[in-house]
Symmetry: D2
């Protein structure tokens, strides 16, 4: 497959590093940038035959099979529409839109054109996520009660991120999109997100958008998805997920505590590790960022989906749902109350019930807990189904 890249900035280079690694069949072929010098530089760096400052030309280039959108958020919609019109498959970076309204137009565009719309939600493709999600689906955690994802760092690299108009918001739209989709995947994509409670504030930076936020997403089955996002974090990149189920727990740390610790006085030499706030003291590099952040597995899934005429794991529909949740989060941050998630085009399950499968001890009692005391004795805590009385039984 031949690939065109729209954009030549930070994320475009990250994607390209994944695409040119490990001798892939699929080849980056063309690049578009508004700035022709940047397009040329990118083409040189990655050895691409085609570069241009015309998005139209690149998208419509006859050898291009699939287009990767790595543009600022406010340019996604127009770019997707151009691809759909050209009949090219399109992979769009996160978030899909600035709002659900924008995202829905993109979803409609690819569906009308019959091209694949892949949502580049890399953090739902990391090796740890893949394996833990498989375990959750196999039942290792029982019923999922709560799934939390946290992303925090000192703020984004590119300047357009700091402009609310271009980005659509602050840390919620930038980082929350990841966290929301991670939690939603663990809870189950067929389960409807119902309402959102969110706190957001501008605590540190001289900007209009929020640089710190915490939100809770209530799902139709009673599970809670939580996101914690910040542009105020000091110490590097904090990227962690936690899941609680009735039968188990998952703790994932994607950055800074992955079994790679380095100390340097800084006297020895220059380069130690990227993304650290310094190059001396204790540093916690990640071995292979494009793999650990999910880019490799994400692009493999996308290209195999195109080849196999199937949906990828992350679709434009997923991007649309995430935007709908983000819209509700912003509404809640403003109103100070739980706000409904508006999804006009809901394609999941509608008959989910809040789970209430209490453990039954016998006809008369529920089992609250089996207790092992410090000296080894066991006792049972039971609740009478009718009177509600709590009783203790020694075993």
């Amino acid at each position: 497959m031949k690939i065109a890249m729209l954009g030549s900035g930070f994320i475009a280079r990250f994607y390209a590093d994944s695409l040119v690694g490990h001798r892939r069949l699929d080849k980056l072929h063309a690049v578009y940038s508004r700035d022709i010098k940047k397009a040329k530089q990118f083409a040189q760096d990655y050895n691409l035959p085609v570069y241009s400052d015309s998005m139209y030309d690149v998208v419509n280039h006859p050898e291009v099979d699939v287009v990767v959108i790595s543009l600022p958020n406010d340019l996604h919609l127009a770019a997707v529409q151009a691809c759909a019109k050209a009949g090219k498959h399109v992979l769009c970076t996160k978030p899909l839109g600035r709002t659900a309204h924008e995202a829905k137009q993109m979803l409609d565009a690819v569906e009308a054109a019959g091209v694949m719309g892949g949502y580049l939600e890399d953090l739902c493709y990391t090796p740890k996520f893949n394996k833990s999600l498989a375990s959750v689906k196999a039942g290792a955690l029982g019923r999922v009660l709560w799934a939390k994802s946290r992303e925090a760092h000192p703020g984004p690299h590119s300047n357009w991120f700091w402009d609310k108009e271009q980005s659509g918001g602050g840390a919620i739209v930038d980082l929350g999109c990841h966290c929301i989709e991670i939690a939603r995947s663990y809870i189950g994509k067929q389960v409807r997100p119902v309402e959102v409670m969110c706190w957001a504030a501008t605590q540190v930076h001289p900007i209009d958008a929020e640089d710190n936020a915490i939100g809770m997403v209530k799902y139709a089955n009673g599970a809670i998805g939580q996101f914690e996002v910040s542009w105020c974090f000091r110490g590097g990149m904090d990227l962690r997920d936690e899941v609680m189920g009735t039968e188990g727990t998952i703790w994932i740390n994607n950055f800074m505590r992955t079994g790679f610790d380095m100390f340097s006085t800084g006297k020895g030499g220059g380069y130690v590790a990227e993304k650290a706030e310094s190059s001396s003291g204790w540093l916690f590099p990640v071995g292979d960022e494009v793999n650990e952040l999910g880019y490799n597995h994400m692009f493999t899934d996308m290209f195999e989906a195109i080849d196999g005429h199937r949906e990828p794991t992350e679709t434009f529909y997923d991007g649309y749902v995430v935007n709908a949740i983000i819209d509700a989060a912003y509404a809640s941050a403003k109103s100070g109350a739980w706000e409904k998630v508006v999804i006009d085009d809901w394609r999941g399950s509608n008959d989910t019930q809040i789970a209430s499968d209490f453990a039954v001890y016998n006809e008369q009692y529920y089992l609250i807990k089996e207790e092992i005391l410090p000296h080894g004795q066991k006792k049972l805590l039971l609740k009478d189904k009718t009177t509600g009385e709590v009783v203790v039984r020694d075993m």
Copy 2:
């Protein structure tokens, strides 16, 4: 000093293990239990000369200087009043009351009687907490933006905890009291807690109270305290704190990941470690629980406060503020909106302002961020103070 213990259950034994360790000057002297057999057993186990099933007799015993209350939550008020009447110093386990109304009566009782009221909030005395709080006070983290504390385990040992009437609630009142006071200490006890947003649900157990809850406490200076509490957690005891400041970060793990990992096939023998859900596989014991959980440092502070005629670090007033925050949390869980924290007797600062100390670059610009790009170049992200425009400067 001679100490009387009211109660002989799980927490009373934990306190006693701390009090008899390391050859302390201060001695456990008497114990009260409603059940005389339990009182006798406790007195035997800890070698106490006095035991009784009359609380009055124990509290008023002439050799007793100070009373430790380790009774169910609904009995705290009466016990505190008995101690105050007897003119004995009183140390009460957490939470102080089931409600702020109860806590206020206890506070009033000790203040009227002129005895010391120590609030046994052990997790604000752990060695890690002590050292990290000292660092925060010394400015190592700059301005504190967010302080989160999480406590989660499979549910309490004693049956009265599961009865909402006796305990005053579920995981919030049982575990949230710790988390709230930890966050409040990092943010600063003089800063007024303003309002609370809380989600709570009964997800797993057949009980009336909540077994899972998440809450946010907004402080007058704009900082956020967060609590995450659960009786549904699997895997042992999850006890972690996190603090974000403008200049730094703290991550504390008090249990299960403290540098002590043990694997056992279980074939070798019986006992491995308490509090684990099993005795085989990977286990994460804590070396010395009464020290790690803060009991040693807490009792040392309490007795030195009495000797030194000073306030201890954790007072009945602190317990009252915590109860006021818990009251607001329950109100919010019900209303689905932010609820005011009602503190009639506020003794802290009243003139706190929300901080907004943006970094100034020069007369025209604020500094958003200094950026080091992957290839080593630096750039500045600036914001025009008047136009609001974001500009980039290469360095």
Copy 3:
């Protein structure tokens, strides 16, 4: 490039999983197994057009460009000779030979034939190793003093490993080969390994070879490489490296503590994670084993080396040096004394001196240490260059 696999067992399947992942240009094309049913099964599983129980036929298949040897250790030499004779590039699993004598013959064979001999030392290609080695080469650790690598697990999967005749030894030849080459890479491949001290014992298993061993390799520059290997370890797979330099430290954990913790009661369902000793309790899976163990980066380097007519990072010459060190380790385990490393064909540096670059304070003194005392004072510990006297200077 088209690839033939010799062998269809555990390691062959691991290699194949890497080779078919992420849509690689280079394709597995043929497989050889002594057992035609296994060859057929392997061909089916990985979708290969060619399978056979004739090694000759597979090696000489006209479409095959490069051969991967995944056979028991005693069959490496004959297989390499067959590939050399056929003029095919050859990639051989570790250890290269059972002895340096065997390894030297393989090295000679590929060099005489003018084909590339790639040594499949995957643990010198893991993402963490790649990045940490780059840091060490850039000087972040100063002068390397000691490099330790540890590999321990409950014993190998395949039965031939347990037969000393086929494998050439026990844990040293199986696991020590990795550890030796890791340490050697950090210390510098141009530095000559001089002598080895090794303890080895059969502590647990009813076998002739060692199941536990510790060794030290002394290098010409005074640095020490240490290996710790065991087939007696309980708890999973222990795979850790440590490096000490004059200006820094590296700690790498490749397995079981990589930021991925899972707890399961085991009630929920079946599968949780491979390589664990159980499927309940606390488990520590690795996200993507073929990537974390270095297979992806190793094969990429090998194929790019062939394409680029350059040496790969790990060559048959490296395999030969490793075998020479292993030979000395076995000699030392027998003699109880340091034993020389015999490398007839040494291609590295011969003029390395033991480093002795003491920090100079001034004309009279060496600097032993600058000390910061608990209360903040600084002092200098100095040593008189001529008298040897140690003196203290307050600062």
Copy 4:
């Protein structure tokens, strides 16, 4: 009990911090220092009624019950003899002597005088060590095969440590004494240490003694104790233990990775944490050093041993055995071969055999290993007891 302190330096203050914490019954009463100004300062800081520059006066002070020796290594013998003569119990810091010959004279002195000789080996009293040793003794690890202890930091604080004559050696005698006794405790104090292999070098500092060393101690039952000690480590204090048994594993980290992580830009303020090499970047403080390093539990054991007329856990005899092992380590570092441990006065078991309890499968076979393959099949690896043949059985 009233306590006299001999010495007023780094370790004396550490001990004193433990002795005055937590309102102990036993009181520091007197201090001796060669420098009367330091004695006076110490007495002021810890509120002691008696200070002197006469060791004789302090040891013979009528109110003193027990003497703590915190002097340089070369002064231990004379101090112990003075205490024995005065009939005072004596607690001596580690190492007991510079050589086994010195240690034996101290042992003889206290035994002849009938006073208690307590060996202040604090790292055999840390909370983690206490609990893990109890688990090992209860059989949780099966038969112990290997016990490793590592202590490494950038070098000692006090200048006399750097003078081989006063200290008796370098990192081995300073740090190795801890590591040796830790491993010996896990393996069992009744098991005779037989011989030692040791590498030692002066890699970095301008001193006569070794600043880096690794040693192995072979025990009569075939177990191996390993020590890794260094004064060249960068990054803080590396203090870790590992134990391998037939049924389990222990990993202990006493410093720098104990669940307490702090990041500071350093802009906020001064003090963050002691023992770190800097006060900015990622720091890993220990919560309560005197507790985590075992001082509290050590002194409690010592005083209760005196009160209870029993031996403490760590005696002068233990100190003597450790010195004997250190003597053998220095001999081996010189000879390059295993050297015998000379213990004239061996009081442990003499009939230990090297364990060889192979797992029996049935009359014909030993069990090598039960294997679970990636796809879930099980197989057995067996060895014929008479022919030695390895066979595989599918299950």
